[in-house]
Symmetry: none
Subunit: 241 residues, 2 copies
């Protein structure tokens, strides 16, 4: 179950933090660390903080973007310390851990952490189906990166020790989902619902709305069927898709 969970760090700036994250993961039984567009290298400081011969750090993989790092995952959970804006529906780490474990019993789950200074930005959040936060003292929301990974990993480790799975479906792959959004956007432009001014905002809203529901393959099939029909309609009226 824990073996199906990956930790993805986006744009990390300090090698020491990568090492500390690897140490926390190793303590808590998590093995798979991916770095998306890291702003630093795995150096001696990282190895020092991870402790000697940490297998998590040794097997960490680098990717040029978050999209590339998420390949192969089904459920993508973003972490955020902020609220408001595009982050209206967030659940606490404790509340989400059992659900994440239920999914991890069947399929691969990525948990995504943003850069030290900004956290995840909107561009990253749009790839996340669920949002998770760690409760803090009011006004002290900024948690050290490795501390945040430690708390989330700890919740997952404790949850897996006393695990009762909820019934969850097999989710669609992220590549299928991205293809669906592309097709939907094209179709909604065809019928004039989207145009250059509102497309980014509206597609973001649709991503949040559909992402929260946990899309299965058959759901993606329905949405793509609607999009196909729209495109056919648009073409019949002489608009270009």
């Amino acid at each position: 179950m824990l073996n199906n969970i990956g930790i993805v760090l986006v744009g990390t700036k300090y090698p020491g933090n990568i090492g500390s994250v690897a140490r926390a993961m190793h303590n808590m039984g998590l093995d798979h660390l991916r770095l998306a567009a890291p702003q630093c290298r795995i150096d001696d400081e990282a190895r020092r903080m991870a402790r000697i011969s940490n297998p998590v750090l040794a097997s960490a993989r680098c990717h040029r973007s978050l999209g590339a790092a998420l390949r192969g995952f089904r459920l993508v959970v973003g972490t955020t310390g902020k609220s408001g804006g595009k982050r209206e529906q967030t659940s606490s780490a404790r509340a989400l851990a059992p659900l994440i474990l239920s999914h991890a019993a069947r399929q691969r789950v990525a948990i995504v952490f943003g850069p030290e200074d900004t956290g995840l930005i909107d561009e990253d959040l749009k790839r996340c189906q669920w949002l998770m936060r760690i409760p803090t003292r009011p006004g002290a929301h900024s948690i050290n990166l490795s501390h945040a990974v430690m708390v989330v990993s700890y919740e997952l480790f404790l949850g897996h020790l006393g695990f009762e799975p909820a019934r969850v479906p097999v989710l669609a792959g992220v590549d299928q989902i991205e293809a669906m959004y592309l097709q939907l956007e094209t179709a909604l432009r065809t019928i004039g619902f989207l145009h250059d001014e509102n497309a980014a905002h509206m597609m973001f809203r649709l991503r949040r709305l559909l992402g929260r529901s946990g899309l299965e393959r058959s759901d993606v099939g329905i949405m793509r069927g609607i999009a196909r029909q729209l495109a056919w309609f648009g073409a019949a009226r002489g608009r270009k898709p």
Copy 2:
């Protein structure tokens, strides 16, 4: 309640760890940090890790021994990653947190963490009334000092919140939602995606899909906007809605 809890670090070697501990405590609503016989000073590295003007670090007090640091406390809880020897009765942080909070509602409680390399030694343990541990992967017991403080502080903070509500939005009313589904069905018939044979089944699937996401009023607005545009399109092509 949290104001009656003190974190006591014994023989800490690295200033960065003291700073990281102060940051974790501040995040989790704990204010009182005591250093017993520290092996380093609070320097720029400590202040860097604590983040600027961290009030926990600024008010940290140094004592020459653990005995001196514990003056004024009633309940003393030691932390250990080891087992065996004098550590036969240890409870997990999660199990102890509610008991510690119950005491903290009435009297001062100290939670004691040992040096980075050895943890608490027998001489320190004998001053502790309870022993607490953080569960780990077998064979990976050694947790970073500030990670250990973070987990314990997190358990206390969540325990003191008692109830940690998820952040949920105001949802759309069921009448609004039913009106949306009616409008959607009509529109999807207009473009030929639905017909009498498949409408009931497909609408049920759409209800499951959209229902899971927790529709807000603005979400309903978007879906109705799409439906309106579809109906307009269909009418323009001469089909009856």
